[in-house]
């Protein structure tokens, strides 16, 4: 499972990191760091919830 990060849509709500700070890493201002995310095995559920928590729809789930 991969998560595509649309940085231009991130507005710093930081809801993803509230679900999982390990999977969704933020900069000091609370915006998501650039780069798509390869979800470690076994953490799909948390990653899914984090991606689904974005009010701006900046995180797109891409199944392998």
């Amino acid at each position: 499972m991969r998560i595509k990060v649309l940085n231009e849509k991130c507005q710093g709500h930081a809801r993803c990191a509230a679900q999982s700070p390990e999977i969704f890493r933020l900069d000091d201002d609370g915006f998501i760091l650039p780069g798509d995310i390869a979800v470690p095995e076994g953490q799909e559920r948390t990653a899914w919830r984090g991606a689904k928590s974005c009010p701006e729809r900046a995180l797109v789930i891409e199944d392998d």
Partner: protein, 401 residues
């Protein structure tokens, strides 16, 4: 009713946030719930007298459409000149009333001050403030929550952040109340008072720096130059109107919900770890802010022509009851997980204080439940709620044994 020529008559509705059913002040009211029925009507309509000064606005009902408006800050400008008329001079609140791309530099300057990390650094002091207030009233067996807890707590946090003396809380609240809920004359006067106060504060902090927000602002640089007085005043003024009573209103609505719904109160007492999730649902259900934009150019939204200069209103509490995004939207489920509510807006103007507001609400509910036994609405009372410019709850009498 003045309806502009370009608005098709079939899209006109007699509606306003002040006069529609459930909007005027009422005891035991439910202003957010009252607007949920807008989802039974057209997704976008025109309300000819839907502002404090009698202007018409488009009303955007659905969450997906509000996202399109709020994420496109170039087409839907937030440059509303809130203060211009009252002051007779151009003084935008910053960064709210600045459009991209200029907005970005101001916003980047302020983001670190209210980032999730910075807010966690304020946690202990904020919690201590809540604990002190609750400990001070719990022996009474009853209280009026807004006056005794919600306002002193939320405004106390805010004043500390801004570096303003706590002793002037009532005075500041009076200005905010008139600015948000007063007659047009009172609004103008309150705006002039706040701006004059901010000008003095800017001058003071240039002369005598301290460890506070305004000192940061007057020393800050944007695009390689220091901010000028107009910019510093514009930032101070925005924080003043944005931060002074929104969190207090949310605390009031939340505690009322828990007082009325004993099973919800018991559920959170049994599972305090569920409070952050519950706060999200309460933010969804009891949003208080109307977000207004102005079309910067002629545009189109879902096939409806919107003319340059038209006001476009995105009521957060209506989007948050959208059945297309929230199954069973009028059911308040404190365990709701898929909850991308719009209490803090969408797009580049997302509430700068959202991280602080969230923590204040979590702290308030945690400490209240930890220290106050099972509470209820005081017998013979009913809280006074209202719609309008910012939805609110004016008093909330709670009792416990």
């Amino acid at each position: 009713m003045k309806v502009p020529d370009h608005v098709p008559p079939e899209l006109v509705r007699d509606f306003s946030y002040w006069s529609a059913p459930g909007m005027p002040p009422s005891r035991g009211g439910d202003p957010q719930g009252a607007l949920a029925s807008l989802h039974d009507g057209p997704p976008i309509f025109f309300a000819p007298e839907n502002s404090y000064d009698g202007h018409g606005t488009w009303v955007i009902v659905r969450a997906a459409d509000q996202r399109r408006v709020l994420q496109d800050a170039t087409t839907f400008s937030s440059r509303r000149q809130l203060f211009e008329k009252a002051l007779g001079e151009d003084l935008p609140t910053i960064p709210l009333e600045i459009d991209p791309p200029a907005h970005g530099a101001y916003r980047s300057l302020l983001n670190p001050l209210l980032s999730p990390k910075r807010v966690m650094a304020m946690e202990a002091a904020n919690r201590e403030r809540a604990v002190e207030l609750i400990e001070g009233l719990k022996g009474k067996g009853r209280c009026e929550v807004m006056e005794d807890f919600a306002f002193p707590f939320a405004v106390g946090v805010f004043l500390q952040f801004l570096g303003l003396p706590q002793s002037r809380r009532q005075e500041f609240l009076g200005w905010a109340d008139k600015q948000l809920h007063g007659t047009p004359e009172e609004r103008g006067e309150a705006i002039r008072t706040v701006i004059a106060f901010m000008r003095e504060l800017v001058e003071l902090r240039r002369r005598e720096p301290a460890e506070d927000f305004m000192t940061f602002v007057v020393q800050a640089e944007v695009d390689g130059r220091k901010l000028d007085d107009r910019e510093a005043v514009g930032m101070g003024a925005l924080l003043f109107i944005a931060g002074l009573d929104t969190v207090a209103a949310a605390i009031g609505f939340d505690l009322r919900h828990l007082a009325v719904h004993q099973e919800a109160q018991a559920q959170l007492r049994a599972d305090p770890a569920g409070i952050p999730l519950a706060v999200e649902e309460l933010l969804r259900a009891f949003s208080t802010v109307l977000v207004t934009r102005v079309a910067a150019r002629d545009t189109e939204l879902n096939g409806i022509f919107i003319k340059a200069g038209d006001r476009v209103s995105c009521p957060s509490m209506v989007a948050n009851r959208d059945p297309d995004e929230f199954p069973d939207p009028n059911r308040i489920d404190l365990r709701r997980e898929d909850n991308r509510h719009v209490a803090f807006a969408y797009g580049p103007h997302r509430c700068l204080g959202s991280h602080l507001a969230r923590r204040e609400l979590v702290i308030a509910i945690e400490e209240w439940l930890r220290r106050i036994p099972t509470f209820r609405i005081s017998e013979g009372t009913a809280p006074l709620t209202h719609g309008g410019h910012v939805f609110g709850i004016q008093d909330l009498e709670l009792a416990w044994n």
